[in-house]
């Protein structure tokens, strides 16, 4: 999850025209902050969803159970999501093929909902064995990509993120920094890559949309009146 910290997006390589004219850096910062907070929020909520299964049904302190995982996990997720969310539009720009498929907020919301749903399923639904769970989640993740992204760069990046994140988690677990309640495959849950992949796609989607429309909500409202 911390893979993003090493590869910071850096200032975008725009022509001197754009960079001199517009305050892209401020823009970038705002986007980063938004993505970071979304990532932290999702990490907290999804973590809650995951621990629900094992935790006592009547937690003495709900607030404590929200922050039950290690304190650094949500910030890491936030950073990672910020990096991913900035990376996607950046890569789009570099490849010169702006992502045009379903560029609407409603689609993004749908994507986020499906992502939460995948997490929900992985946490709540009882599967017979782990292979079934992993296969189902993989199919769902691919379906998510196909429904909301459909770009090769998005797929590649998603796979890369999933691989890196799983690797980092694996390393963490090996070194005993982090631990899973019920590991089933080399000390980690085998569905982890799917979740990472879906998360990468989702955050990328949000990032692209943010890059597309900056202050859309306010201005469009004022426009309609």
């Amino acid at each position: 999850m911390t893979e993003g910290e090493t590869e910071s997006p850096g200032p975008e390589k725009c022509g001197p025209y754009i960079s001199s004219v517009t305050s892209r850096s401020v823009n970038l910062m705002i986007r980063g902050v938004v993505l970071f907070s979304i990532g932290v929020f999702l990490a907290l909520v999804l973590n809650l969803l995951q621990i629900q299964r094992n935790v006592t049904l009547f937690p003495p302190d709900v607030i404590a159970s929200i922050f039950s995982s290690a304190w650094w996990v949500p910030p890491c997720c936030g950073t990672a999501s910020a990096v991913i969310g900035l990376l996607y539009p950046c890569i789009d720009k570099h490849l010169g093929e702006p992502h045009k498929f379903k560029r609407e907020w409603s689609s993004v919301m749908r994507c986020v909902a499906v992502f939460v749903g995948i997490n929900h399923a992985s946490a709540k639904v009882d599967f017979d064995n782990n292979i079934q769970l992993s296969l189902t989640l993989a199919a769902l993740s691919i379906g998510l990509w196909w429904t909301f992204d459909r770009s090769r760069s998005g797929f590649g990046l998603g796979v890369g993120i999933a691989f890196l994140a799983t690797l980092v988690t694996q390393l963490l677990v090996y070194n005993g920094v982090y631990q899973y309640t019920s590991p089933d495959f080399l000390y980690v849950r085998s569905w982890l890559p799917c979740i990472f992949f879906a998360g990468g796609i989702t955050m990328g989607n949000i990032g692209r949309q943010l890059a597309l429309y900056e202050c859309k909500v306010i201005a469009e409202k004022s426009h309609q009146e």
Binding site: G15, P16, Y17, I18, S20, V21, T22, S23, F41, V45, L46, L48, L49, Q52, V55, T56, L57, F58, P59, P60, D61, V62, S65, I66, P98, K100, E104, S106, V108, M109, R110, V112, A113, V114, V116, G117, H120, A121, K124, V125, D126, F127, D128, Q132, L135, T136, A139, G143, L212, Y213, E214, C215, K216, I218, A219, E220, K221, S222, H223, E225
Partner: protein, 1282 residues
């Protein structure tokens, strides 16, 4: 025709018919759909309401055995037992209900005495229970053996550590407040304080500790200083692990023997099993709430896209109703066919909505809305439906396929979800087709009516420019009156794009949507709801009471109980019970009257409470646990980390225990402090009346007490609300300026009209001084360029040729003055030669003075100079000022440094004695009614308005022959094309002229047809002229010597060399009419474009035609517009786009002649249209520039332009768009719609809107501000291009 195509055809046809049907009979269809929904939802009534309320089931006490774990054998009679009634319960709960009364009540007793000694008896009772041992044949059995052994409290409950048992039997009594220590109780000075120390201060929503230990609801316990009945009741709660009938029976017998209850009507014959639903804790609630928030965001963002309908909200509501009722229908249908939902409905609901989605609904709306407005509603609906039918069906098939895949995961939960989703999808489709389409048709019909009503006024206020007969941009210039610019530049305030600080915009947004008010309203409603629900006397109790009455447990409905009640009492093992026959339940009053009259009653007391306080046992006591919070038992068990979710407990019938204490006992138990602190000594009179009489006035003291709390809470809530409102009001005042409604402050007004983003983002604007090209007297009408040269033509008929890089005026082609005299149709050759002669004579001196950096010096043979016609004019000069003007010596000092002198003098002539000129012209006006409007293209209504302008603009030319306007002979210039160094001019007289751009000489001309040339195309030695009468003429240019590129044209430094052929000035050029299409269109041709070997014409007869350039053969006639074509675009990739007066844009496939897509783009005419590789950019009379995705026809975004600058746009590269505004140009990122930069063009042009923008190859931008041109270099753009 392949199978797919046939299928597609069929589907489209079916949808078309369906659309017609829906739009024809809206009301019956909606009624039918409503009935369908109701019918499908009917099975839902059988389902239990969602919620966490417990469910009860009653079994007889006699022969009770815990149900077996597997309940398979019970399948035959499903009504008998609920499905959760399997296996042993979590626990059996025995409540020993103690009612205690001090009687008789002497007057010297204090209020504390009401409960002090009764409570002390609890210790004794607990002792008795704990020590109870059953001895029978199977051995001895004590309480420890059967009770539920608890081990440990949950670690978080430190506060309750001393109060709840931590090990051993789970036995609760009020004595737990004092750790079951009698001494501690006796030394406690403040019993009430001890009891209430753990009461929550806030609204209580679940069971409190007091409720847990007392086992009765707070207001029934009677432990209060203000109680009136002087009866204390509490329970001792025993929790058993196993059901041991004998032990329980013996315990019951013993207790009832020890503490007999004389008039007890309790039957104690049935066990109540209470099943608890799954809990939703806060931990689960957070993800749930998150998903719901995401769901609402999704719905919000989806419905926001509904556009161009009468009532957005109505349609959004219809869309949501469609999805929701399809979900309900799916659940209903599934239940009907025997599938009972096991999933938690609330959890999967958002996902179902997301899966089913609102997309189809939106696609339908969009498709219908983008059909031509002037069609009948029926047809519009049908067309819209049929055009989207294929994609809808395809999407649905895909979704069904995906879900089918999900079904084969063989995970039960996912399978069930998929089943619901499939049924939901199908019913959603059904509803979309019937319900939503019909609602849409009603809406569209309403919009048509409303539109008819309000359409006229806006058009009346539009600038008088409705291009009908000619390309739009011509009209745009006519719209401006140079004499009174401010009337044009002032906009109505609603059109302005305000650039306000972000803070203000947020506040405006809040204010506009009335967010604060709505939030407060919603908060209040929720608050009231909570109050009503949690209020002890409120809804919840009422509901429980209702449930109690209706449930088979209730007294009245006793007869249909599974066990005939008549049998039980007889066989009941306990003889100590006095049992009433079940069918004559005695009301409580009857028993009260049988009670012994209280002896020492004072008369006053007798008056006040006539029923003597007496311990009575009514049927309501048996059900007292119902009055407890429904979270009572789950809370209790949760303290020991035992969940009751999806499990059940069994409640054994209560054991009634009556304690009657005499005053002596009460006095003994009194604490020394009781008398002093709690009860100040008073006289016998007041003391006797006590608090019971003084405080609560009404008969129901406890009730009144509860009401007071309610009022307090209510008042508090009200106060909180008011404070909140005031606070928000203050914030609002602070943030909002006083002049709310008048946009912007005075300080920002000047710059306030900055064009800002669609999304409110306005980047820092810059200001550069452009190269101003002045020289035209009147508004510039046509602009043409080939990258090196720039040709402009004004209303006066002057053509100026400029160097596009330096801004030098190279040539002016005013019309020769002789033209008036020489008459029409003179021999061209003669004229030309004459002109050439004159050029040679006098051109030299002028030229050397005018353009100092003579770039074309190296030109070989020194041929004719600029301004060749000037000598002829000098003879006609009759006024002083014009002579001055004509023969002006070269000016060393020019008024503005960057102002190129070449053509600047014309402006001065304007300034000079203008009024005199005007006067004279007005005198001449009558004599020479110069040009008749009949020559112009027929244009209805507002289009004719420019005519007076022209006449007003006419005078100067008449007065000064140097700038002569010769309308009668040649007519005005209507079209202009430039290629190489040849300018092709089409005139209203039908004359086609070919001029040399450098020398300014007429090369050849053709005047065969007298119908005005409305549009020209000049492409590779081929000239096509479209005429007013709808005919097309194809000319070919022939040069008699070989082409030789001129030296000076290849300017060093600029990379882009002109690719077009350049005709050397020495060549003779001839122009031959090769072909004529006499009746290409029925009406005047308004648009003409050529590319890729094709020629496209657009006409007022609503059609487009595609010709092949080589042989002028008509390939296609494209029909699809419902108005005159105003603009056409075609490029090398064979993309053809057309825009019409109906506001629609059509994209065509040039190869097949089929319409690719059709967008309803603008309100009003489409004025110009251009495409990049990925998008289509259109501008309309509504001053909007819209950017569309070229492949899908989806509108990406739109840019609001300044009034009158609607059509000024240019595409610099594939992702850079430039638009004009009030004295500025703005650069946009095409892909993202970002405003990149706004460039202000000097100060003096601030008032003028940029009418027209032309992008040159070398990334210079020419803007047309009325009569002057501005040449803007954007060097950074160049770098970007490189």
């Amino acid at each position: 025709m392949t199978l797919t195509e046939r299928l597609r055809e069929k589907i489209s046809r079916a949808f078309y018919n369906h659309g017609l049907l829906c739009a024809s009979y809206p009301i019956p269809i909606i009624l039918f759909t409503g009935l369908c929904i109701l019918a499908c939802c009917y099975p839902l009534l059988k389902l239990p309401l969602p919620g966490t309320g417990p469910v009860e089931f009653t079994t007889p006490m006699k022969d009770y055995l815990p149900p077996p774990v597997d309940s398979d054998h019970k399948q035959g009679e499903p009504n008998d037992q609920p499905e959760w009634y399997v296996g042993a319960p979590v626990a059996y709960i025995q409540q020993i209900f103690v009612k205690s009364l001090v009687s008789p009540w002497p007057k010297n007793l204090l209020a504390v005495d009401v409960f002090r000694s009764p409570l002390s008896r609890a210790f004794q009772l607990v002792e008795e229970i704990r020590n109870h041992v059953l001895r029978d044949s199977s051995g001895t059995r004590s309480l420890e053996d059967v009770c539920l052994q608890v081990t440990d409290l949950l670690p978080g409950l430190k506060k309750l550590r001393n109060l709840l048992p931590e090990h051993g039997c789970l036995l609760l009594s009020p004595g737990n407040f004092w750790q079951n220590d009698r001494e501690r109780f006796h030394t406690d000075p403040d019993i009430i304080g001890t009891i209430h120390q753990h009461e929550p201060k806030t609204l209580q929503t679940s069971a409190t500790l007091k409720d847990l230990l007392f086992g009765v609801p707070g207001k029934y316990s009677g432990v209060s200083l203000y109680t009136r009945k002087r009866m204390v009741s509490y329970t001792i709660t025993l929790v058993f692990q196993r059901y041991h009938a004998k032990f329980l029976g013996s315990l019951r017998a013993r207790l009832m023997l020890l503490h007999p209850s004389p008039n007890c009507s309790l039957r104690a014959e049935s066990l109540v099993h209470v099943h608890f639903k799954e809990e939703i804790g806060i931990a689960e609630l957070i993800p749930l709430v998150t998903t719901y928030i995401i769901l609402f965001a999704y719905i919000y963002f989806s419905t926001r896209k509904i556009d161009m309908v009468k009532s957005k909200w109505g349609l959004a509501l219809a869309a949501v109703v469609t999805v929701l009722s399809s979900l309900l229908m799916s659940v209903g249908l599934c239940t009907l066919f025997g599938l009972t939902p096991t999933l938690n409905g609330g959890e999967i609901f958002p996902y179902l909505v997301v899966v089913i989605g609102l997309e189809n609904v939106l696609v339908l709306t969009k498709s219908v809305v983008s059909t031509p407005v002037d069609l009948e509603v029926k047809l519009r609906i049908a067309q819209g439906l049929s055009s989207e039918s294929w994609s809808i069906m395809k999407n649905m098939a895909t979704e069904l396929g995906i879900i089918l895949i999900g079904y084969f995961t063989l995970v039960p939960a996912i399978q069930e979800f998929c089943l619901f989703a499939v049924v939901g999808l199908v019913s959603d489709f059904f509803l979309q087709m019937l319900f939503f389409t019909t609602v849409l048709s009603i809406d569209i019909r309403r919009m048509e009516l409303a539109d008819l009503n309000k359409r006229l006024p806006p058009e009346a206020c539009l600038p008088p420019a409705k291009p009908v007969g000619r390309p739009a941009r011509h009209e745009r210039q006519l719209a401006v009156r140079p004499s009174m610019p401010h009337t044009i530049t002032l906009q109505p305030s609603s059109f302005r794009n305000l650039r306000l600080p972000k803070r203000l915009r947020v506040v405006y947004f809040l204010a506009r949507t009335r967010l604060a008010q709505r939030l407060i309203m919603a908060g209040t409603v929720v608050w009231i709801g909570i109050l009503v629900y949690t209020d002890p006397a409120g809804l919840r109790t009422y509901l429980t009471a209702q449930v109690t009455e209706q449930s088979p447990l209730g007294e009245g409905a006793l007869a249909p109980m599974p066990v005939p009640s008549g049998v039980l009492p007889a066989s009941h093992p306990d003889p100590a019970f006095s049992i009433f026959p079940p069918d004559t339940p005695k009301p409580a009053e009857n028993q009260t009257s049988t009670g012994e009259p209280s002896g020492p009653m004072g008369p006053a007391e007798g008056v006040h409470d006539s029923p003597v306080p007496e311990v009575t046992w009514g049927p309501e006591d048996e059900e007292l646990w119902r009055k407890l919070s429904f979270r009572h038992w789950p809370t209790l068990f949760s303290y020991y980390n035992i969940t009751l979710a999806k499990r059940y407990i069994s409640l054994l019938p209560v054991i009634p225990v009556t304690l009657r204490l005499n005053p002596r006992e009460a006095l003994e138990g009194r604490h020394p402090q009781d008398g002093r602190s709690a009860w100040p000594p008073q006289g016998p009179g007041p003391a006797r009346s006590g608090l019971w009489e003084t405080n609560p006035k009404g008969p129901g003291g406890a009730q009144a007490h509860g009401d007071v709390t309610l009022y307090k809470v209510g008042a508090l809530g009200l106060a909180a609300g008011i404070v909140l409102v005031l606070l928000l009001l203050c914030l609002y005042r602070v943030f909002c300026p006083r002049n709310y409604g008048q946009p912007g402050g005075p300080g920002r007004r000047k710059r306030g009209e900055l064009p800002c983003d669609d999304y409110g983002y306005a980047p820092p604007e810059t200001e550069i001084v452009p190269l101003v090209l002045r020289g035209h007297l009147m508004d510039i009408e046509c602009l043409a360029s080939d990258g090196m040269l720039l040709v402009s033509c004004c209303l006066a008929g002057h053509v100026c040729v400029w160097d596009a890089q330096t801004g030098d005026c190279l040539t002016r082609i005013p019309q020769p003055g002789q033209r008036q005299d020489s008459g029409v149709g003179s021999v061209f050759e003669a004229q030309e030669s004459w002109e050439r002669l004159s050029d040679g004579g006098k051109g030299g001196p002028e030229e050397s003075g005018d353009s100092p950096p003579l770039r074309y010096r190296p030109q070989g043979p020194p041929p004719p100079s600029l301004f060749g016609d000037q000598p002829d004019l000098t003879c006609l000069i009759d006024t002083n000022f014009s002579a001055q003007l004509r023969l002006q010596p070269p000016e060393p000092a020019q008024p503005e440094p960057r102002h190129r002198g070449g053509c600047g003098r014309a402006r001065e002539s304007l300034g000079y004695d203008f009024s005199r000129l005007v006067q004279r012209v007005y005198q001449e006006e009558g004599l020479a009614p110069v040009h008749s409007p009949a020559l112009r293209p027929p244009s209805p209504g507002p289009v004719l308005l420019p005519a007076p302008e022209e006449e007003g603009g006419l005078p100067p030319e008449k007065g000064s022959p140097s700038l002569i306007w010769a309308p009668s002979a040649d007519g005005s210039i209507w079209s202009l094309e430039l290629q190489g160094n040849l300018i092709v001019v089409g005139r209203s007289s039908g004359r086609l002229e070919v001029w040399d751009a450098i020398e300014g000489v007429l090369r050849c001309s053709s005047e065969e047809v007298s119908s005005g040339i409305t549009a020209l195309v000049f492409l590779d030695k081929r000239i096509v002229a479209a005429r007013l009468n709808g005919s097309l003429d194809f000319f070919s240019l022939e040069t008699h010597t070989a082409l030789s590129p001129l030296q000076f044209r290849g300017t060093p430094g600029r990379g882009s060399a002109p690719t077009s052929p350049v005709y050397s000035s020495s060549d003779t050029v001839a122009c031959h009419l090769t072909h004529t299409v006499p009746c290409a269109h029925q009406k005047p041709i308004t648009a003409l474009k050529a590319a890729a070997g094709r020629l496209v014409t657009g006409s007022q007869d609503h059609t487009l035609r595609v010709f092949r350039l080589e042989d002028s053969c008509c390939l296609f006639t494209l029909q699809g517009h419902s108005g005159a074509i105003t603009t056409v675009y075609i490029d090398q990739t064979m993309v053809l786009a057309s825009g019409g007066q109906d506001g629609a844009i059509c994209l065509w496939d040039v190869l097949t002649g089929s319409r690719v897509s059709h967008m309803f783009a603008h309100r009003g005419d489409v004025t110009s249209l251009t495409c990049t590789t990925s998008c289509v950019i259109s501008s309309g009379l509504d001053d909007l520039i819209s950017i569309w995705d070229r492949s899908t026809g989806i509108k990406l975004y739109s840019i609001q332009q300044d009034l009158g600058c609607g059509a000024s746009l240019g595409v610099i590269s594939d992702n850079l768009l430039v638009t004009g505004g009030q004295g500025c140009v703005s650069f946009w990122d095409l892909n993202y719609g970002d405003l990149l930069q706004t460039v202000y063009l000097g100060k003096n042009s601030e008032a003028q809107p940029a009418r027209q923008i032309l992008v040159l190859d070398n990334a210079a931008i020419v803007c047309n501000f009325g009569s002057e041109l501005s040449l803007v270099y954007v060097p950074s753009v160049l770098e970007k291009l490189d």
